[in-house]
């Protein structure tokens, strides 16, 4: 029977299927971090058991870590306690930890792919909703809660009902100044922050196929922002080339076997999806959000939709969002002053993101009214950026290159945006208070963020690209 890619991978991981019960799904790889794991380790202690398959679990510290002076003890007491607890738990339960100071440390969704832990055809989970990132390799990867972290610790399995499937095709060629972040913000603006709920999404079409692995990760990363369980892209030559030679990737004879298997991982031509959506890449402009959920996005030259244009039951929430942001109906965002620019997070902190920003800002200066933080996704990204001299470019432009971590994406460490301030951010969530109490977040691509950094205001990056 014809199957979608999700069905192929899912069915290859079902340990037990019984009518009226969720499937018992085998999990190949479990990634953990300091915030959502301590209560799960505690649960194991209470049960008096260990991890069922500790070697299939990898840990890092990312959410709480400072992005300056990582060689010093963490100043914030609770953050330090949580990171120390992870170290203690990993030692006690035999889990490999890439903690602070380790050359592999970084945001969990950046290090998995760069180390070759993330592979096509795998099932992967993590107590973090952006686990969908790993779907870029053609893996089933999704975020789970702490009770489920404990379940995977205890059994290497998860009880999960098989999700519905959705295909989102983006065809054609992207226009200048438009990238992966714009694609996904565009899709979410079309289908809303809840439009994908209950589905596992396969991204397809010529525009998706032409993306690099890093760009594909940006797209899959934000699948959760439309409510989807996860997102994935069928593996192809781009995927294989990226994976080959990475530290934990199969090699030699194993590589040949892997490749033969991975080449079977695609949705069959006549497979049926529960929903199919199609978009034209040429229609997509650089995107920016104006509200307090990722579905509230517009092309940067468009005006904020009017409250009266919203469904009646949604108007109060919509108005509340605009009030929070200090914006009004029908306004244009262009020219609005910006206080902070944050380039980082599991969405856009990889070497390609940093290269794109460096190429754009080379020879330009940041505006005086803006503070710019560039936070690489991992120690390896940081090292690569320095090896390529990107740090010098940033320094000359007045951009601060910090050390890896989740940073101002969610402000669990000291990197918070002050109340009332506007931040153009390459992260994934513009929720109220996400970057700090009363902080105002506008999500955008690294290029649009870099343009705001040099002009000090919301700017259509296409105009600056034309100058070159």
């Amino acid at each position: 029977m014809a199957k979608t890619l999700v069905e192929k991978i899912w069915d290859a991981h079902v340990v037990k299927r019984e009518e009226g019960f969720p499937d018992i799904l085998y999990i190949d790889t479990h990634l953990i971090h300091e915030v959502t794991s301590p209560q799960a380790f505690d649960g194991l202690r209470k049960r008096g058991i260990g991890l069922f398959r500790p070697k299939q679990t990898v840990a890092t510290a990312d959410h709480n870590v400072p992005t300056l002076n990582q060689h010093l003890p963490i100043k914030e007491e609770l953050s330090r306690y949580q990171v120390d607890m992870l170290t203690k738990n990993c030692a006690e339960f035999g889990v490999e930890l890439y903690g602070l100071g380790h050359p592999f440390q970084g945001i969990v969704h950046v290090i998995g792919p760069e180390l070759g832990i993330t592979l096509p055809g795998k099932t992967m989970v993590c107590g973090d909703s952006h686990t969908s990132t790993h779907g870029a390799f053609g893996a089933i990867a999704f975020g789970i809660g702490t009770s489920q972290v404990e379940q995977v610790f205890a059994t290497q399995c998860l009880q999960q009902s098989k999700p519905k499937t959705m295909k989102i095709e983006v065809n054609g060629e992207l226009r200048k100044g438009v990238g992966a972040k714009d694609i996904i913000l565009y899709i979410i603006s079309k289908i809303s922050a809840a439009g994908g709920t209950g589905y596992f999404v396969e991204f397809a079409g010529s525009a998706i196929r032409s993306l690099s692995m890093e760009a594909r990760m940006t797209v899959c990363n934000m699948s959760i922002e439309m409510g989807a369980r996860g997102g994935l892209i069928a593996p192809d030559e781009t995927t294989f080339e990226y994976v080959k030679g990475r530290k934990f990737a199969p090699a030699g004879e194993e590589w040949d076997k892997a490749l033969a298997y991975w080449k079977t991982l695609y949705s069959d031509e006549d497979a049926t999806f529960d929903a199919v959506l199609t978009y034209d890449a040429a229609e997509i402009a650089p995107m920016i959000t104006y509200g307090t959920n990722p579905g509230m996005g517009i092309g940067i030259a468009e005006h904020i939709p009017a409250t009266s244009a919203q469904p009646e039951t949604e108007r109060a929430s919509y108005k509340k969002a605009l009030d929070y942001m200090g914006f009004a109906d029908d306004e244009s965002l262009l020219g609005k002053p910006v206080d902070y620019v944050f380039i980082g997070s599991c969405t856009n902190s990889r070497i390609e993101d940093l290269r794109a920003v460096a190429e754009f800002v080379k020879g330009k200066q940041k505006a005086d009214n803006v503070e710019v933080w560039i936070v690489p996704g991992s120690k390896q990204v940081e090292a690569q950026a320095i090896a390529e001299g990107l740090d010098k470019v940033f320094e000359a432009s007045g951009f601060q290159l910090r050390e890896p971590g989740c940073s101002a994406c969610l402000g669990m460490n000291e990197d918070k945006i002050p109340a009332g301030k506007y931040c153009v951010s390459t992260s994934n969530r513009n929720f109220e208070g996400r970057q700090g109490p009363n902080a105002r977040t506008m999500l955008a691509s690294p290029l649009t963020a870099a343009a705001a950094a040099v002009t000090g205001k919301i700017t259509d990056v296409r105009e600056l690209l034309e100058e070159v």
């Binding site: 969720p22 069922f52 809660g145 290497q156 009880q159 922050a193």
Partner: protein
């Protein structure tokens, strides 16, 4: 996990849509390493001013409303997978959350903790809000066995869906980790026969 029984209670209305888990419990309060005490910071930034004084107009600070049922606008619990959101709601004394739509991960987290998420129609949700606006202490009755929720004052009743396995876990207080652990033979057999052994 505590067993869920039939519940009659007044409600706390929160007619806002797309309430994300960052609103339910902001990231800066996720640093505890136990499951207790998160209720104190439930809806922290909607509930308190920057100087920690309560915001009088927020529903949790308004003694007009109380009860074990939180009723919220559609797409409740979107965003981060933090189970702390479910813990915070439960720790603040709620046993049920009603909305016309729930985000996936939140729904699963709630069920795994014995907090019952009930999805009702847009019309029924509006009817609850209308009734509570009319009479703040109006009660609802939730019957998990029958899978119904009733607005007691009007007798309006709606059925809700729940996965039968999850329902039996809630009613009997089962622990699903014990259940999967009892399948270890099957798991090991699966590992022996993996499609691609390298993983």
């Amino acid at each position: 996990m505590k067993k869920f029984e039939t519940l009659s209670s007044s409600v706390v209305p929160l007619p806002i849509e797309n309430i994300d888990t960052d609103q339910i419990i902001p990231a800066r309060f996720l640093k505890a390493t136990t499951r207790e005490g998160f209720g104190e910071n439930l809806f922290r930034d909607w509930r308190y001013n920057g100087d920690n004084t309560p915001k009088a107009d927020f529903v949790l600070n308004d003694s007009t409303y109380s009860g074990k049922v939180l009723v919220a606008g559609k797409n409740f619990g979107c965003g981060s997978s933090r189970e702390h959101a479910a813990w915070a709601i439960q720790d603040a004394g709620f046993a049920v959350v009603i909305s016309s739509f729930f985000a996936d991960i939140f729904k699963g987290n709630a069920l795994n903790n014995g907090l019952l998420p009930i999805q009702v129609s847009d019309e029924f949700l509006a009817a609850i809000f209308t009734q509570v606006a009319k009479e703040a202490k109006s009660s609802l009755t939730v019957n998990l066995e029958e899978q119904t929720v009733t607005i007691d004052a009007t007798g309006a009743k709606e059925s809700f869906e729940i996965n039968p396995y999850k329902k039996s876990c809630l009613i009997n207080g089962y622990d699903d980790i014990d259940f999967v652990r009892s399948q270890t033979d099957l798991i090991e057999e699966f590992e022996e026969n993996k499609v691609f052994k390298f993983y």
